[in-house]
């Protein structure tokens, strides 16, 4: 009888282990690679033809672009898109460092996991200053006026730089890129344009 009880307990423990493991596996969240992505869409809703047919860009021509930001981080994110203007010699952002040129502004929004948020980006050149052959455009972005501190010779090779920033709860501030499995991953895009003289 005692032997039978021991055998019963051994079998019961073995079965419990197996079935509990199955239960644990069933309840565990599926492994997934967290990531965030964004795209700049032209007026036609395409990832091309941003200043189609109007490059060099004329003064007072408004472009209605939009930025789509996708969140696959597994949790809701507070996202900011920082925009800057650069020229051909401006150092580009990297996967770990944002661009060093001053930012014009930030468009922020909350995006739930698995959702794609849309941020409008309407811009135009309202006027320009010319100094020593270099052109400095004055821009209107989403209804706000900005004077570019960056100029370009003959108005050529300007670029709008867009950077993805996410709100970091521990530091309570926006940080460049998104939090990857090991380190932060910087994400940025740029659109080149020329300014009509």
């Amino acid at each position: 009888m005692r032997r039978k009880i021991i055998v019963f307990l051994v079998f019961f423990a073995a079965f419990s282990l197996v079935y509990s493991s199955i239960g644990f596996y069933a309840l565990s969240p599926r492994p997934s690679q967290p990531f965030m992505g964004f795209g700049v869409f032209s007026e036609n809703g395409l990832l091309s033809g941003y200043v189609n047919g109007t490059n060099p860009v004329m003064v007072n021509r408004t472009f209605n672009w939009h930025l789509d930001v996708t969140n696959r981080m597994g949790v809701i994110q507070y996202v900011g898109i920082v925009y800057r203007i650069g020229n051909g010699s401006t150092a580009s952002p990297t996967t770990s460092q944002p661009a060093s040129v001053p930012q014009f502004g930030i468009a922020d929004m909350f995006i739930a996991n698995g959702e794609t948020g849309m941020i409008s980006f309407a811009w135009s050149i309202i006027s320009k200053n010319e100094t020593g052959g270099s052109v400095f455009p004055n821009l209107m972005i989403n209804g706000q006026r900005f004077t570019s501190p960056i100029g370009a010779l003959s108005g050529r090779d300007f670029r709008l730089i867009f950077e993805l920033w996410t709100f970091d709860v521990p530091s309570s501030s926006f940080q460049y890129g998104w939090k990857g499995p090991n380190s932060r991953v910087g994400s940025w895009l740029q659109v080149w344009f020329n300014v009509a003289l």
């Binding site: 079998f11 019961f12 079935y19 507070y78 922020d108 909350f110 739930a112």
Partner: protein, 152 residues
């Protein structure tokens, strides 16, 4: 002459008080926007915590929309305090809803775990009994087969 001096002093004090009120208003508004922004961040943290606890995606998406609405109020708060107040009120409501979701998600997870492990224990018990008493079942079936055999 005395009347002139008193009048001038009066006008000066009036002007000072006007400037003072204007500054206070601007400070109060900036303060209100800072308060609203802090409340919005608090609400975001609460929603993120609920999301991490396993709250439903439909509820989180609904709260994300409300967070965006509160953010819109803050961004349009220039000129009046009412938008900043609306944002703060909405943020507080979001925080409340997120806390409810957190508790609900936590209890649902605990309930699901309790169910899963209870089923595992019960199944283990039946499996052990089945394995240990298999010979009885075999004997029973053999006996049934034996009694069903036709007599000659």
């Amino acid at each position: 002459m005395r009347f002139h001096l008193t009048a001038l002093l009066g006008i000066f004090i009036l002007l000072l008080s006007t400037f003072g009120t204007g500054d206070e208003g601007a400070w109060a508004q900036a303060d209100q926007i800072t308060v609203s922004r802090n409340k919005l961040i608090e609400a975001f943290q609460a929603v993120q915590a609920a999301d991490l606890q396993g709250a439903s995606q439909v509820d989180i998406a609904r709260l994300a929309n409300q967070l965006n609405k509160a953010l819109f109020y803050i961004e349009n708060a220039n000129g009046s305090n009412s938008y900043a107040n609306m944002s703060a009120t909405l943020s507080s409501q979001i925080t409340g809803s997120a806390l409810v979701l957190q508790n609900r998600a936590l209890s649902q997870v605990l309930l699901a775990q309790a169910w899963a492990y209870s089923i595992a224990i019960v199944t283990s018990l039946f499996s052990t009994l089945l394995l240990m008493e298999a010979h009885r079942i075999r004997d029973f079936l053999q006996k049934r087969r034996f009694f069903k055999l036709p007599l000659r």
